[in-house]
Amino acid sequence: MTVDVPPPFADAPHMRDWIAISPEGDVTFLSGRVELGQGSSTALLMMAADELGVSADAITLETARTDRTPNEGLTAGSMSITFGGAALRWAASALLVQMLDAASERLGCAPQELRTESGEILRNDASTGLNLLDFVSAADLSCRVADLARPKDAGERWKTFRDIPRMDLKECMVGTPFVHDMTAPDMLHGAPVHPPSMQSALVSLDLEALKVRPGVVEVVHDSSFVGVVADTPLAAARAAEWAQKRGTWETKPVGAVDPVKFIASSTADAETIVDTGNVNRNIGQWYETTVTRPYIFHGSIGPAAAVALWEGDEVTVWTHSQGVFQLRRAISKALGLEEKKIRAIHCLGAGCYGHNGADDVAFDAVLMARAVPGRHVKVVWSRRDEFHAAPMGAAMATNVRALLGPDNNLTAFDVIVNSAPHTNRPGAGGTPNLRAAAYLANPIQPARSADVPLARGGGANRNAVPTYKVGDVRVQRRLVHDLPYRSSSLRSLGAFNNVIAIESLMDDIALDIGMPPFEFRLQHIDDQRSRDVLERIDSETRQVREVPLPEGAGWGLGFARYKGTGGYCAVMVRVEVDGDVRVTDAFAVADVGEAVSPDGVRNQVEGGMLQSISWTLKEAVPVDGSSTTAGSWADYPILTFSEAPRLSVALIERADALPLGAGEISQGPTGAAVCNAVRAALGIRVRNLPITRDAIIAAVNE
């Protein structure tokens, strides 16, 4: 194991922080990580069970709730398995040590002679007839995990099982696992009447008339916050819609601007993030490109939802937030209520791809439920709310310049990233950053975003440093704060656009000097894992790439190591362009270190590829004034089933390497591969995403 004591043990050192044992002897592991629809809870459970040497159904897992599990921070940045999984392995190992000690006493042997497999205790590999979990009463959960734990080495793992299917999948198909589905006696239903932007103020709304709309039980009004509480979700939604149409709000006027052009042309002072030497040399030839992407919606299929219940001066909220402890603190700040009076419990939401409306809707529910103490209030945002009120993925412009020396080696790389903020999470900068907090009588606007520090992978500048050996590198960043649109973390943050820009330039240079794209990249790589991934994608696709292409078709390559420290991913796609671009085939090779659940990793990589193809080809948030004009999916098309390519993902497994997370490694390389394939198919470079028919025509006319 390459992790030293995992970081969560600083705040939660004891076994009882991580393990609960019921009076009947059932073992539950407690994780501060949440399931975001990516199978991480199954992977976490697998790691704990594997460490104990029992089957996965012998134990259970409970995730993120402020009254029960450790605080492991946000479930974000693809760190669930790396840190959350390591923590559970350590905790399980400590428990195993205690149980095997007790078993060794019973057997009159040394504990070192014992190990477990399929729940049975083996002595020097021979059966003892003893079940490990029969020794659960020997557990002393007051011990410190780090004093006892000796987590297994790679060679000792996965003796009982190797991979298990997602535990929760069937329930998702025929059952009711989502917070949207929660029921409680006497439950009421809320719907917010959101102002157009976080800076807008309510001017007029006939609250008396709203109160008597059908089914309405309460109207909650605090300055610019208005919420309708009704006896059914339909009544709440219809009343809120009625109010939305009749209310008037005052909004700071915004001159009509194209946000992407505005961001790209910003001349704000650039901060230098990385500077390894002088990039302004002049021996050789400079190449340059600029790639832009618009604002992008999270667009979860299930809108944000939450349930809240006030009992006395205490409130419980059921939420699909990425960080229940952060949400608790943000609510505490917004309401001036002590944290210990707030309980946040994670529940399943629909797919989470970053900081979406989960926290905002939780606070909406808290505000509305306060008016009806003792009754649960469920709030499910409308599709319009989901588009208007949730944070968006940031619009960006990445300018990349590279200097090619006379020997065809790159000697300098200069990157400037202009971007809207990539983080505005609850609590960041000391403010709640909950949408409704900006509407209350004591309004709290979000602090100015400081972006994600480089140590956590960076935000705007994520993956702005190429994964290649390119001589001196300078990365500068301009955060553009002057647009009224709310943006925050969306899967892979700046990496998507930055990898596209870098990989576009790598291809442009290779093409210009007549070198195959693989060769040019390999020439600039000296680490073996990067090389392996690229060589493998080359060999995996060689045969299909030899098939003659029809007119308007092409292949493209994209590669990056996520954050420079995470998983490696190379993607090769084939496109056909006939007015619109269609990706017909997509291949990926990934190395995420130890793949805890290999099929889960493939599923994540596939999902990232599909989502990235959708971003690259189709998606742009339409804006006007201070808000989006998109009210429904009709205004924001995403990739359909007919447009989905055939996919193939291969893993390079490294059982003894640190597991690195897979949910965000494929977006950048896939976007880059698509852009490069379009370049190959058409002979022109489309630099402004998405690559729609219109964008192609614009690029031709450039």
Binding site: P165, R166, C172, V174, T232, S300, N603, M609
Partner: protein
């Protein structure tokens, strides 16, 4: 709000009768009146497919269908796919691990079921995809979902329907 109306229909093989506002979308009747919550709300305006159910053999978006129009009809929802063993579609989705967040799946399963039950032989991948074009999946599980439906079709469409 219109006058309440009595509606009776067969849901997953069982006769159900209820008194509702006939303009209430079927989705709300299923979820809130009958507590059949496996059918999901995604947009409420017929643009995402999360709420797809089968009415008299046709896949329809239940958020868009007034309850007054289902009187006397046959409705199938995702709950009807459960069982021991589960429906071949559910089995194929599990086998292929065709899901990430899974929120879109009940609607997709119903759209797929309506397609497969209406075809004498396994439909092509392109035809399956086309039948799902009203269903959105944001997690990008498309390829696995198509694989799973192709697999299920091999079991379900072996010849003329019994």
């Amino acid at each position: 709000m219109s006058e309440l109306q009595e509606v009776s229909c067969r849901i997953n093989g069982k006769m159900r009768a209820f008194v509702v506002d006939p303009t209430m979308p079927l989705l709300h009747v299923l979820r809130e009146v009958l507590d059949l919550k496996a059918t999901r709300f995604g947009c409420g305006e017929g643009t995402c497919g999360a709420c797809t159910v089968i009415v008299d053999g046709q896949a329809v978006m239940s958020c868009d269908l007034p309850a007054g129009q289902v009187d006397g009809r046959r409705i199938e929802t995702a709950e009807g796919l459960d069982g021991d063993p589960p429906h071949p579609l559910v089995a194929a989705f599990l086998e292929n691990q065709a899901g990430q967040c899974g929120y879109c799946l009940p609607g997709i399963l119903m759209a797929a079921r309506a397609l497969l039950e209406g075809e004498p032989t396994p439909p092509s991948r392109a035809r399956i995809a086309e039948a799902l074009d009203g269903n959105l999946c944001r997690c990008g599980t498309h390829a696995r979902i198509l694989d799973a439906i192709e697999d299920a079709a091999k079991h379900m469409n072996r010849g003329p329907l019994a």
